[in-house]
């Protein structure tokens, strides 16, 4: 922007006065400015570790998704390993209120169970 010479002269004088007023700032004010600057720089240090963590956020997301995927793929095998109907039958048996004396002859019942499976009984 081309400025008329008298306007430029005016601006130059204003700038000169302004610069002088900047040079005349007292020590207490300069000290407060210095303190403010260091607080701002401390903010930079506080912000940096967060930014470094955020940089790993996508990788962490992918890793978490992979772990979930593996868990989901393994889910049917786990279901098969647990014989849910059998376990439920045993639970029902226990809830039927048979006498606890049965457990005193537990070895006898195990033997009977084995014979039943081998076709020696019934």
């Amino acid at each position: 922007m081309k400025m008329p010479s008298d306007e430029k002269q005016f601006a130059d004088k204003a700038k000169q006065l302004f610069d002088e007023s900047v040079e005349e700032l007292d020590a207490a004010t300069l000290s407060r400015l210095n303190r403010g600057r260091h607080e701002a720089l401390a903010e930079l240090e506080r912000a940096t570790p967060m930014r470094q963590w955020l940089r790993w956020a996508p990788a962490a997301g992918v890793a978490t998704a992979a772990v979930f995927a593996v868990m989901l793929m393994q889910q049917p095998a786990i279901d098969e390993a647990i014989d849910v109907p059998g376990a439920a039958a045993d639970f029902e048996f226990l809830m039927e209120g048979h006498s606890l004396e049965m457990f005193e002859d537990l070895e006898f019942y195990v033997l009977m169970d084995g014979l039943e499976e081998n076709g020696h009984v019934g």
Partner: protein, 202 residues
């Protein structure tokens, strides 16, 4: 070098590079703030007529630049910093307007110039005679008062262009307007100031 050593060296050099980069940024930012802070303070002080409030505005601007824009190229820092600063000044004026309205309802007003000390007591560091020093201080006081009376956008354009020496493009970025608007505001500001100060500045 076995695999573990290689991984360690790569990891160490990566971390070292991040730390070096952070330190470089900190040094650059420190240099930038040290360069602009005093002029920024005077610009804010002329706009709000209160040194304590101006110091708060400048510090706020420095913190916001450090927090949000430090990764931007260094050449963008000046207009960004002054944009934040000008927003701070505008917020201050809005708050003052609300405050004055509220105080007006209670029949009170604040005298901002009460503790404003324009004349420092220290000897002149530039070696001027007392008469020259006094004349310059009076001229600056007159200029500050006249700049303070300008409409907000004209004041911003004048101070950023004249005092901070920003070019039209950077001033437009700092003010958040077009370059054409900057030229218009600046031209009007110069005319108003020359009219207001003409007789004292001949």
């Amino acid at each position: 070098m076995n695999t573990e050593s290689a991984v360690f060296v790569v990891s160490w050099s990566g971390e070292h590079s991040i730390r070096t980069n952070a330190l470089d940024k900190e040094r650059q930012l420190n240099r930038f703030f040290a360069e602009v802070e005093r002029r920024a303070l005077r610009i804010a002080e002329i706009a709000v007529r209160d040194r304590d409030d101006a110091l708060d505005i400048v510090q706020d601007a420095m913190i916001k630049l450090a927090r949000n824009y430090v990764q931007r190229p260094e050449k963008e820092w000046t207009p960004l910093f002054y944009r934040i600063l000008q927003n701070g000044v505008r917020d201050w004026h809005r708050r003052q307007a609300v405050r004055n309205r509220v105080m007006g309802w209670f029949g009170r007003s604040r005298d901002d110039d009460g503790d404003y000390d324009a004349i420092a007591q220290a000897p002149d560091p530039m070696g001027r005679t007392p008469d020259e020093e006094l004349a310059n201080r009076e001229a600056m006081t007159g200029l500050e008062a006249a700049v303070g009376r300008l409409p907000g956008r004209q004041r911003e354009a004048f101070m950023l262009r004249t005092f901070e020496g920003l070019d039209v493009a950077d001033t437009a970025t700092a003010m958040g307007c077009s370059e054409g608007s900057v030229k218009t505001h600046y031209s009007r500001a110069i005319h108003s100031l020359r009219e207001a100060l003409g007789e004292h500045w001949q």
